[in-house]
């Protein structure tokens, strides 16, 4: 019996068919909240972001829309981040480095709009990221084939399997071996990243994947990596690969 269960969970981590979005582990109430755009609190961030998309900003007095056109042109973009940053544009400082969607937005803010970068979890940054992710809703996660990204995914997987903190557990221990089990009052999800940025009831706000991962690190009494630290970017890259092919559901709602 135990052996059967054990091999069942091994299967879960290797087989795409067994992958489940975190929403499927939540209560019917939470699922209903995510499913209905008129109730989903994350939609407030999406609408706010769509508005900000058209507002000129920075020394360049340019809006995102001035260069990119309607936000609908962002369809498919969130599905491929993190990715090696595009090398077009005047300032190529970050070109070739793997960056997250939020870092790419900030890159445009600094290099194109010539405005100060938003700090992590800034409301405007989360709103724009929510609006861009929303444009990819329903599309499969599709990390591109890039050597730099592939290296980041490999590093990310190693971090994912490394036990950390005083409690000495890895992401893999909980999200592959114990998914579906209750850790205290919380059901452990498989940890797929299809809903980001998410509205979390515990936060009463939308937050980023990095905020979520840092929370898991603190829970095992580990020192979380700093915002946008290479390790967090690598973890994001690995989690995107792990969820490749799963459909984007942003804005996700989670307990």
């Amino acid at each position: 019996m135990l052996l059967l269960l054990a091999s069942g969970s091994m299967y879960a981590q290797n087989s795409p068919e067994m992958r489940r979005s975190g929403i499927t582990y939540t209560s019917p109430g939470t699922q209903a909240l995510q499913a209905d755009d008129s109730q989903n609190p994350g939609m407030l961030w999406v609408r706010d972001g769509a508005q900000r998309w058209t507002i000129p900003s920075g020394d360049a007095r340019k809006s995102c829309a001035d260069c990119h056109g309607a936000i609908a042109t962002m369809r498919g973009v969130a599905a491929r981040y993190p990715a090696a940053s595009p090398s077009s544009g005047s300032a190529a400082s970050a070109a070739g480095r793997v960056i997250t969607l939020s870092q790419q937005i900030n890159r445009c803010r600094v290099e194109q709009q010539r405005a100060p970068a938003w700090p992590p979890e800034h409301a405007d940054l989360l709103a724009l990221e929510s609006a861009i992710a929303f444009e990819s809703r329903g599309l499969p996660m599709a990390p591109p084939a890039q050597p730099a990204l592939s290296a980041a995914q490999t590093r990310g997987e190693a971090l994912y399997r490394q036990r950390i903190g005083q409690v000495d557990l890895s992401c893999h221990d909980c999200h592959d071996r114990l998914a579906g089990k209750k850790l205290g009052g919380n059901t452990i999800p498989q940890g797929h990243v299809t809903g980001y940025p998410i509205y979390r009831l515990e936060w009463q706000a939308v937050g980023s994947l990095q905020r979520r991962m840092r929370g898991c690190m603190t829970a095992v009494r580990a020192e979380p990596y700093a915002w946008n630290a290479p390790e967090l970017v690598d973890l994001e890259a690995w989690l995107a690969k792990r969820a490749a092919g799963m459909r984007i559901e942003s804005p996700g709602v989670r307990p």
Binding site: R163, I164, G165, Q166, V167, D168, L178, G185, R221, A222
Partner: protein, 155 residues
């Protein structure tokens, strides 16, 4: 300061316990009697002061401090949100001797390196331990003994 008890830092002892421990775990799964395998425990208490089952009960009930109820059901109806990652600790006193429990709390990963259960009384190096927890075991020697005293009452 008073945390790491030097007489327990003998890895060889845990190594020897590992194989026997695994057998004992298997036996315990099917049988109701204690599998008293020699070497499958730490016979000597970690402190010389008397243990208190009452304090042990309070510790187990305190999820932030002991973490037990994150993974185990415990026969304490007043404690809400008990996890189901592992066993129900009801009856643990009938399944394990105090010596066996001591090893399972001090370092369950000596029995099974893949164990999800954290090692409560080891100062072995770990990665990225948060500042507040650095170089400290999860529970101190007295707390381990108190928890064992309470677990032993569960029969």
């Amino acid at each position: 300061m008073a945390h790491p008890p030097p007489r327990l830092r003998r890895p060889s002892r845990f190594g020897a316990a590992a194989v026997a421990g695994r057998l004992a775990l298997c036996a315990a799964a099917g049988a109701s009697t204690v599998a008293a395998t020699p070497g499958d425990g730490i016979a000597e208490p970690l402190t010389t002061t008397a243990a208190s089952a009452e304090r042990g009960r309070a510790l187990v009930a305190n999820r932030q401090q002991s973490l037990c109820v994150l993974c185990h059901q415990v026969p304490l109806p007043e404690v809400r949100f008990q996890g189901d990652i592992s066993t129900n600790l009801a009856g643990a006193g009938a399944r394990w001797s105090a010596a066996q429990m001591r090893l399972r709390l001090v370092n369950p990963r000596a029995l099974n390196p893949d164990s999800i259960m954290p090692a409560y009384f080891t100062t072995a190096p770990r990665s990225r331990v948060g500042v507040a927890w650095r170089d400290k075991p999860i529970l101190d020697a007295q707390q381990i003994e108190d928890v064992i005293a309470w677990l032993q009452t569960l029969r």
